[in-house]
């Protein structure tokens, strides 16, 4: 279970998270939704200790991330798969090596690594891309390899940072199906940062709406669809000027 408790984070004068609190239930897909710049991706980075809160804390499986020593933090990261917005694949490595790197770090045997890489590429429907370099892949393929790299680790948690941004509608639907399949087959708790409404309504068990660095509303897909909160309504109905940022 992941829990944010009163997290504040600022970069210079810009306050990004401002008392952000949220409980992420085990085994579900929680979507963090909201306007650009409201701190969704920043919140995600706190979970794996890429950022440290100025105030408050983040708990993962009962451990406060900021209090973990180096080895404990590494151990936590071994249980979390992170899918970056632009995939963040290692340019100088083939797809196979991109997937193998984290598995070698886990101390797995070469035959296990080969099998895991194959299975993960099958799952994202790119079984023939193992020997290609990231520069030889399209944007959608790169994002799928990013997902394959995360799920190859068989993580307890998968964090997706805007997985469908910049993709065409068909690829977006394919990505949604992939995230649903990954959760079903791995049973991992998923957190998805997105401002793609269709995608959020398709994959989410719960949706948390962020506004100005804190949670405005949390609820099921149905509850968010029927929300009467003016900020949430404006976002869902895409009607600027009724409550959200100018």
């Amino acid at each position: 279970m992941i829990e944010f408790r009163g997290v504040h984070k600022a970069f210079g004068a810009k306050v990004v998270l401002n008392g952000f609190s949220l409980l992420i239930p085990e085994g579900e897909t929680t979507v963090l939704m909201g306007y650009s710049g409201t701190g969704k991706s920043v919140a995600l980075k706190h979970i794996v200790g890429l950022l440290e809160p100025d105030q408050g804390h983040v708990e993962v499986d009962g451990q406060i991330v900021g209090d973990l020593g180096y080895e404990e933090l590494m151990e936590l990261r071994r249980h979390v798969g992170y899918v970056f917005q632009f995939a963040a694949l290692f340019d100088s490595l083939t797809v196979r090596d991109n997937l193998s790197l984290g598995l070698r770090r886990q101390g797995l045997q070469p035959d296990v690594i080969t099998r895991r890489v194959g299975e993960s590429l099958e799952l994202v429907e790119l079984p023939d891309s193992a020997d290609r370099y990231p520069s030889e892949l399209s944007g959608g393929m790169r994002k799928r390899v990013g997902i394959a790299r995360a799920i190859a680790l068989r993580p307890s948690y998968i964090l997706y940072d805007e997985p469908t941004t910049g993709l065409d509608p068909v690829t977006t639907v394919a990505m949604d199906e992939l995230m649903i399949r990954a959760r079903r087959e791995l049973g991992a708790t998923s957190i998805v940062v997105t401002h793609d409404l269709d995608s959020a309504f398709t994959i989410a068990d719960r949706i948390a709406f962020l506004y100005e660095g804190r949670i405005q509303q949390v609820g099921t897909v149905q509850q968010i669809r029927q929300s009467t909160d003016p900020l949430v309504r404006e976002f869902i109905d895409a009607r600027p000027g009724t409550g959200g940022p100018a």
Partner: protein
């Protein structure tokens, strides 16, 4: 936080990370040989180019200075001493600060702004172990090798210039070169060059990993790496002269 305090804090963090990363041999060892090729072997042409012209200029300059006052065979002394003790290591270091420092900063800076460094961390791999340690070790190991080659080529080009353009025979040039030769002349230059390699690679890594803000940030990091690398060479050069001479 004040700048000196910020620098000391960062240096302290780097020292802790470096110690931890050195122990993580399974991560950096496979990267070491490719980095030795990239930072060392591929730098040989640049270093030799600089060395050839250094030798030529030194021979011509010394013959100009020694006219009538000092016997001309001292051209051999000056070329050999200057190339081995100072110009070989320092000019090679400067050339490699541009080539290696910029290369390392641009590569790591690009990895930083495209979140590849963050991706490494999420895979429980320390960027210091995977990126910094093999580059710094490769530079420490390879800079003396490249510098030794540059020294040899610098002396040879000085000899070639002296025997072809000046009124000096090979025997006289060698006599001059051997006159005040000490074994220390060689190892002093090589020790310096190893420290230059460490400084240039470290500055490149530090600047690259601190890059922010896209292409412009990578450009700034690259410039910073080269400037800091050159400054570090001059400071270390003075330090070794004080300590070892």
């Amino acid at each position: 936080m004040s700048r000196p305090r910020e620098f000391l804090t960062q240096a302290g963090r780097w020292a802790i990370e470096a110690r931890r990363a050195l122990a993580d041999t399974s991560i950096w060892r496979p990267q070491l040989f490719p980095q030795m090729l990239k930072l060392g072997v591929q730098s040989v042409p640049v270093a030799l180019f600089v060395a050839v012209f250094t030798g030529i200029v030194l021979a011509l300059l010394s013959s100009y200075m020694f006219t009538r006052a000092i016997p001309l065979y001292f051209v051999g002394t000056l070329v050999t001493k200057a190339v081995m003790l100072e110009l070989g290591p320092v000019l090679t270091g400067m050339a490699l600060a541009g080539r290696v420092g910029a290369n390392v900063a641009a590569e790591l800076g690009t990895m930083r702004v495209t979140e590849q460094v963050d991706a490494l961390e999420t895979l429980a791999i320390s960027p210091h172990a995977y990126l910094v340690t093999p580059r710094v070790l490769a530079a420490i190991l390879m800079f003396p090798v490249v510098t030794a080659m540059a020294m040899a080529v610098g002396v040879l080009s000085g000899w070639f210039t002296a025997t072809n353009l000046l009124d000096l025979s090979s025997v006289e040039f060698v006599r001059g070169a051997r006159q005040f030769y000490k074994f220390k002349d060689i190892w002093f230059g090589l020790v310096k060059s190893a420290s230059f390699g460490a400084a240039i690679a470290t500055m490149g890594c530090m600047a690259g990993l601190a890059a922010r803000g896209g292409a412009e940030g990578v450009g700034r990091a690259t410039t910073r790496a080269v400037v800091l690398g050159c400054q570090a060479i001059l400071v270390l050069d003075a330090f070794w002269a004080l300590v070892l001479l």
